[in-house]
C-alpha cells in the first residue's frame, strides 16, 4: 500500500477526541486533504513531530494524540522515541510510514533499513508495537488494535512509494495554530 492509502483508511477510526500531528511534506498534505480538519499539520519541523505529539498527549490526557511521521523525519529526531518510551503516555499513538526515502525531496535514500524495528521497539518495553507491510487485508485489524488498545502504541508500516497530486496546504501556519487552539478553548 502507499502512504496516502493508509492515511485515507484512518478516517474510520478517528473521533472528536482525536488529534493528529502530521509530519512535513506529503504526509501533512495528505492528512489535510484526506481527513477531518483541523489537525496539527507541521511544515518544516524536521525531527520534531514525535516531541509535539508527546507534549500534546501529556498535557491533554482526555485527547487521543496520533503522530504520523515518515522515516526521514523520525530518524532526525530519533531520541524522541526514547523520551516517549520513558514517559509512556497512554493516549499517544505513533504511526511511522516508512518508504525508506526522503520522498518529498525527490526520493533520496534514508538509512531506515538498518533498523530492525520490531527488535528496537521490543527494547523500549512499549505495551503495543507492530512492524509490518500493510495490505488491504491486514491493515484494518491492526489499526483497530493500534487505536483502541488504550496504551502507548507504535505502528511501523513499510509502504510503497507514491503520492496523489494534492494542492499545498492553503492554511498559513498561524491559521493552523489558531484552529487547533480554538479546539481547546471550547472545553
Amino acid at each position: 500500500m502507499r502512504g496516502y492509502e493508509v492515511i485515507a483508511c484512518l478516517k474510520d477510526y478517528l473521533t472528536e477526541d482525536d488529534l493528529l500531528v502530521s509530519s512535513n511534506g506529503n504526509i501533512s498534505r495528505e492528512v489535510y486533504h484526506l481527513l477531518t480538519k483541523p489537525q496539527v499539520y507541521l511544515r518544516g519541523s524536521m525531527g520534531l513531530p514525535v516531541g509535539v505529539g508527546l507534549g500534546l498527549a501529556v498535557m491533554n490526557s482526555d485527547k487521543r494524540v496520533t503522530v504520523i511521521t515518515g522515516d526521514g523525519n523520525l530518524l532526525m529526531g530519533f531520541g524522541s522515541l526514547i523520551t516517549t518510551a520513558f514517559y509512556r503516555p497512554k493516549n499517544l499513538r505513533i504511526l511511522i510510514l516508512d518508504n525508506t526515502q526522503y520522498y518529498t525531496t525527490g526520493g533520496q535514500k534514508t538509512v531506515s533499513t538498518a533498523i530492525n524495528y520490531n527488535k528496537f521497539f521490543e527494547s523500549l518495553n512499549i505495551e503495543y508495537f507492530k512492524s509490518l507491510i500493510p495490505t488491504e487485508m491486514n491493515l484494518k485489524p491492526v489499526l483497530s488494535e493500534f487505536f483502541d488498545i488504550g496504551l502507548l502504541s507504535i505502528l511501523h508500516l513499510t509502504i510503497e512509494e507514491g503520492k496523489q497530486d494534492l494542492a499545498n496546504i492553503p492554511w498559513h501556519p498561524t491559521q493552523i495554530s489558531m484552529e487547533i487552539q480554538k479546539k481547546f478553548l471550547k472545553e
Binding site: R43, L48, S80, S177
Partner: protein
Amino acid sequence: MIDISEFIKFIEENFDLVSGVPCSYFKNLLATLAKQEEGLTIKHLIATREDEAIAIATGAALSRKRALVYMQNSGIGNIGDALTSLVQLYQLPMMLLISSRGLEDDIDFPEHSIMGDINDPLLETLKLKYWYLKEEWWQKIMQEAITEMNTQSLPVVVMVKKGVLSE
C-alpha cells in the same frame, strides 16, 4: 542567588509544563524540581535534545498551555529550525530559560567561548526578544518577559548568568 523555592513557586503560577536539557547553572533549580516532582502542579519532562524540548513545549502551547524550556546557550545551536520553522512560524508562546555560558567564569571551558561571544547577536538575528535575569527585581524581569510572550504570542528568552539560580 534567587531563592529557588520562590522561583519554582513563580514558575508554577505562570507555567503548566517545564522541559529541557540541564546546565550546571540550573543545578539547584533542577535538584529542587526533582525533589518536589510529586507535589508540583506543573509537569516536568526531561528531553534528549534542546529542539525536542521545544517540540514538547509546542505541544503544550497548541493546547493553550504555557511551557518553559531550559537549556545551556550551546543549545541555541540546536534549536534554529525548531524556532524558525515551528515556534515562530506558528506563533506559539513559550519561554526559553538559557544559561549564559562562555563568559569570564568559563575561561577554562573553551567549548563555550565562541557561543558566549555570539550569544546576544545570535538571539537578535533569530529575532528573539531577551532579558538577563538579575537577583534584584527578578519577578519584574520574568513578568515583563511573560507579558511580551503572551501579547505577541511568540517565544521569549531569559538569559541566566552564573550565580543567579545556583551557588
